[in-house]
Structure formats: C-alpha cells, structure tokens
C-alpha cells in the first residue's frame, strides 16, 4: 500500500510515531525517523531494518530543521509523505500555566509542524504523491478543562491543516489530520489510575485506543487509497465524550 514511498515521521521513537513507522515499513515504505533521542532512534531503525533511517535533530530549531531537509533533498531527492507526530502535553489549569509552558507547546506542536510542512511540501514534487498527516487532538477540537495551552497548540494545527489543504491542493498535496482521543502511550504517564478510569468512562467503547489503531488510520491517509481526501480532521476516539 505504501510501496516505494518515502515518509518522514517526527517523534518516531515511541508511542503513535513508532507504531506508524512500524506500519509504514510493513506496507513497503522507506521511513525517515525524525526526533531528538539519537540512541532510541538508532535502536528503532535497527529493529525496523534497512528501510528505516534515523534522523536526529532538534525539531524546534529552525536551522537544524532546514539542514535536515537539505540533507533529504541531497540524498533522497524527494518526499512522498510527512507525519507531524511529535508532540507534548502539559496539563494544568490556566492560572497555573506559565507562558513558558504555553510557548513550549506551541513551539513543538504548532510551529515545528508548520515548518516541517513548509519544507516537506517543496520536496513533494512527484505528481499525486504528496501527503501530510498532522496529529491533532480531540482536545483541540472540543476543548478540555486543564488543557487550554495544549488545546491552543492543537487547534492551531487544525487551522493549519484546513488552510494548507486548500493552498497545497494546487500541487496535488493532500493535507489531513487525525484527532485521537485517549490512546495508550507515555503521553499520559503522569495520570493516576483514578484519572485514567474517569477518562475511560467517557469513551463509548470503554477502553483506551492503541497506538497501532491510530497508525493504521495514518497509514491509510498516506496511501493512494486516500487520494481524494484532503482538509479533514478525522477523529479516532472510540466514541469519547469530552
């Protein structure tokens, strides 16, 4: 389904990013694993085999991101897909959210994602091959108490997704997003059992989602099966009520 496609995934060392890399490799793609943790990325690349390439750089450093894309252009020449997956979430009521925390979340979840699309779209030159998938969130779509800064960063990414879908359509690049609900990853590692239980009670299907389930949706959006889908924010939340 993704035979011969070259796909860059940010934050590919764990969680949804890792699952996406695994699925993309299984479907025949070459995957560029981007992130900051060199040791983990190299380990993942080794486990995934020769079609997985680790790329360690600071996703939030404008210059390093440019250098990473210059490297891709020089050594591979093009990109078929980008998954803006790396993300951080600081939970706190607004009164207890420092502007520094807000800024950090915006810098990674929104600004870095924007710069990655800006540069990736210029390497998506093969007709009909450009696909961008952003990791938005049910929190950005519907809002959640105690998560206003995170929600702002993800809602901004929703705006970017919808706008760039319109702008990049002229180049046949499809831009979509997935909006997961409560997925079993380290993003929630600081949640207590009670907090988890309370959240699971809001999920119609009565359980957390798995990274693999999100990865399956992302890989579909990256594939030719999704060639006529653009500008969509697709919920994957097991019927969660926020």
């Amino acid at each position: 389904m993704l035979q011969d496609k070259v796909i860059l995934i940010t934050g590919a060392n764990r969680g949804i990013g890792l699952a996406t890399a695994q699925v993309c490799i299984a479907l025949g793609a070459t995957v560029l694993l981007a992130g900051r943790n060199e040791v983990q990325l190299e380990l993942v690349a080794e486990q995934l085999g020769e079609r997985a390439i680790a790329m360690c750089y600071d996703l939030t450093d404008e210059t390093q991101v440019k250098q990473a894309f210059a490297h891709i252009k020089q050594h591979i020449g093009h990109l078929d897909g980008l998954v803006n997956n790396a993300g951080m979430m600081h939970n706190a009521p607004a009164a207890m959210t420092s502007l520094d925390s807000l800024q950090q979340q915006l810098t990674l979840n929104t600004v870095a994602a924007f710069q990655h699309i800006q540069l990736a779209s210029r390497l998506m030159r093969k007709p009909g091959c450009g696909r961008v998938v952003n990791l938005c969130s049910i929190v950005g779509e519907r809002g959640a108490a105690g998560q206003s800064a995170y929600a702002a960063s993800k809602a901004a990414l929703t705006g970017i997704t919808k706008s760039l879908a319109k702008e990049l359509a002229a180049q046949q690049i499809c831009v979509n997003a997935v909006a997961p609900g409560f997925i079993d990853t380290e993003l929630h590692s600081d949640f207590s059992d009670k907090q988890r239980e309370n959240i699971i009670n809001t999920v119609g299907l009565g359980r957390m989602g798995t990274p693999r389930e999100v990865a399956d949706l992302i890989s579909f959006l990256l594939s030719d099966h999704a060639a006529y889908i653009t500008g969509q924010i697709i919920g994957i939340d097991g019927g969660m009520q926020l």
Binding site: K66, F69, K73, R125
Partner: protein, 79 residues
C-alpha cells in the same frame, strides 16, 4: 550556470515567453506570476541549480533582477 537556464526556469514555471523574462519583470505584475506560480518557480529554480532556497529568499524574490541577486548567494551566477 547560464542566464538561459534562469530564463528557461521562468518560462517553464510561469508559462510565459522568453522575451517576457526581463530584469524588470516583477512578482504579481502579470497574472502568470501569482503566489501559486511563485512556488512552482521556486521548485524549478531549486531543481535547475540544485539548491534549497531559504524562506526569506523565497519571500524576497520579487523580480527577475532580485532572483539573480539571490542566486549569487547560493554560488549560482547566471551571466
């Protein structure tokens, strides 16, 4: 790097004739050089000269003359 390569990049990207590619030709002055065509032009220049332009340079590339100036920075010298 020849001036004809630069001219050809404008011709291909904007779908205009070589005669229209003068130093004075500016962005948005003709319908063919709108924002969508600008990105196609950038892609064409990058492919032709095997470079990757900075965002600031993409924004600054407001005329053919300016394009030549900017390309000099990338060691590309259309004579």
């Amino acid at each position: 790097m020849s001036e004809s390569q630069l001219t050809q990049a404008f011709v291909t990207a904007l779908g205009i004739s070589a005669e229209q590619v003068t130093d004075e030709l500016t962005y948005n002055e003709i319908d063919a050089w709108d924002s969508t065509a600008h990105m196609i032009l950038i892609a064409e220049l990058e492919d032709t000269f095997d470079i990757m332009l900075d965002t600031d340079d993409i924004i600054d590339m407001s005329s053919v003359a300016k394009a030549k100036q900017i390309l000099h920075k990338y060691q590309v010298n259309p004579e």
